[in-house]
Amino acid sequence: MMIAGLSHNAQWVLLGTLILGTAAGIVGCFAYWKRQSLMSDALSHASLPGVIIGFALVGSKNLPVMLAGAAAGALLGALLIHWIRSSSRIKEDAAMGIVLSVFFGFGIMLLTMVNRMAGAAQSGLDSFIFGQAASMVQRDVWLMSGLALLVLIVAVVAFKEWKLFLFDAAFAKGLGLSGRFMNALYLFCLVLVIVVGIQAVGVILMAALLITPAVSARYWTDSFGRMVILSAVFGGVSGASGTVLSAYGNGWPTGPFIVLSAAALFIVSLAFGTRKGVVVQAVQQRRLRKELTKPKTERRTAEGGNAV
């Protein structure tokens, strides 16, 4: 797979963002049907302090440690949201907003402090905010792709269980599928995708890669299986094309370009999606109106005949 204008490293990165986008598209569908689209936004913001603490502990850029820190931050955020919501009168949306902004503020505090450390400025910590795929080396891509593949496998192997869990939790329980286990597995997948994605897409926009492909796919089909496949394709295409686009400029952040690619696919789906696309619906309505108005006389006689 040689793509003109891209260096050898960039091609590896491209493969990585392709796999990442695919995994995010699939997990995004789960999040959509759990009505937790914005939860992914809160969790990805909450991972920032973890990344910085991971960096500070080792003292140099060590991706596995930083990603472990990110996962810890995101899980702590999820726990706090759950705790605040369940033991006080604060609603879920406010709890998410609190965790999101306070964790992110804390992350920025730590980032400013760590950036003063020797060598930290070159470590590319800033690239975790908006994502910088170009900063990834081959080893990072391997790690990222490996984790994303893990999520893909979990999603595909247990597909029937996911479907049951999302659409008929009571029936799933009756069949002996532990709701608690599935919830944990879901959170595990969500956090893993976020953690894997933050280096390429950044903590601020990671949520878009989980939300937008799923919503776009919703415009094409009512079948959950097809929605997941479409969403995975949309996610993969957005990840890859965003990476290519951002490679054309010097130091352009990758995340926003990936998100804009996803948004472009969303606009196309919104207009032409076969299930509820705006243009498609307008055309159908017009055709229906024509059918109802044009052969009025024929219909009238038919109706009249029935009545008599």
Partner: protein
């Protein structure tokens, strides 16, 4: 006034305005809408800058209110097309924010507007950008803008206090009384937008969310009365701003980040010890409500 004095005054103005608006956000369960608007305001500011090529207050205010209202409209429209509310918020604001960042990094690269600024604000520069006012002398521009916005917010809240209260707590009653709930909704989103953009310079896109949501959520744990909640929320906003400033001085770190962190400390404190809805109080008298 001294350098630190101006910074503290600016931050306190942000705290009060956000605290007041945030109270209504919490009660109307629109906290995540504030998150969305604080992100899309960036696109409004960038567009205004690219059109007029200047970073003056009024253009930015207009651009951001337009962006805020556009966000509200789009979210509503997508929701009416059958997308879940949460998901439509997520799609709209991430796309707008991405567009804003792309425009900054490709078009406005060497201007005053940079990505760092939009995220964290530039509160340390605010005391230097002064404008001269009659009677008051040299006052930082941000303080002037924030004071005007605070005045607008106060007037809007006081003048329509009853309407806000009814539309927030009992939308059905509001409808039957003939209060235009839809108009109130958009007016409120306009208020959120101007508060956000005025605070944007001082604390940046993400910290605005902390200032809007967290003090109000903390106040919600202390009282059941709207007026008291608003006063408390404003006070918590100021407290967090001042507290955050001194944390930042102590650790020599980002001021806006520390302020966001400080709102979290105030919230955690309220969450644990509030006599009405705190978890300690609940644990100490677990059967009080049933008895």
């Amino acid at each position: 006034m001294s350098y630190a004095g101006w910074i503290l005054l600016t931050a306190s103005l942000v705290g009060v305005s956000c605290g007041l608006v945030g109270t209504l956000l919490i009660l109307r369960r629109m906290a995540m809408m504030a998150d969305a608007i604080s992100h899309t305001v960036l696109l409004g500011i960038v567009t205004a800058f690219l059109v007029t090529r200047e970073l003056s207050g009024i253009h930015m205010l207009i651009g951001s209110v337009a962006a805020g209202l556009l966000t509200t409209l789009l979210v509503q429209w997508l929701h009416s097309l059958g997308v879940q509310q949460e998901a439509s918020i997520g799609v709209v604001f991430t796309s707008f924010f991405a567009l804003g960042v792309v425009l900054i990094s490709t078009q406005a690269g060497n201007a005053h507007l940079d990505i760092q600024h939009t995220l964290m604000g530039e509160i340390t520069f605010i005391p230097w950008e002064k404008s001269t006012l009659p009677l008051l002398g040299d006052v930082p521009e941000a303080v002037v803008t924030l004071s005007i916005v605070l005045a607008i917010v106060l007037i809007a809240i006081v003048a329509f206090y009853k309407e806000w209260k009814i539309t927030s707590f009992d939308p059905a009653l509001a409808l039957s009384l003939g209060i235009p709930a839809g108009l109130m909704h958009y007016a409120f989103m306009g208020l959120v937008s101007i508060t956000t953009v005025a605070s944007f310079d001082a604390v940046g896109a993400i910290m605005v969310v902390a200032m809007l949501i967290t003090p109000a959520a903390s106040a919600y744990l202390w009282t059941d009365r709207l007026a008291v909640m608003m006063a408390l929320s404003g006070a918590f906003g100021i407290l967090s701003a001042v507290f955050g400033y001194y944390i930042a001085l102590w650790l020599d770190t980002s001021i806006s980040g520390s302020m966001a962190f400080a709102t979290g400390i105030v919230f955690m404190f309220s969450f644990i010890v509030s006599p009405k809805h705190g978890i300690l109080a609940k644990r100490l008298r677990p059967t009080a409500s049933s008895a």
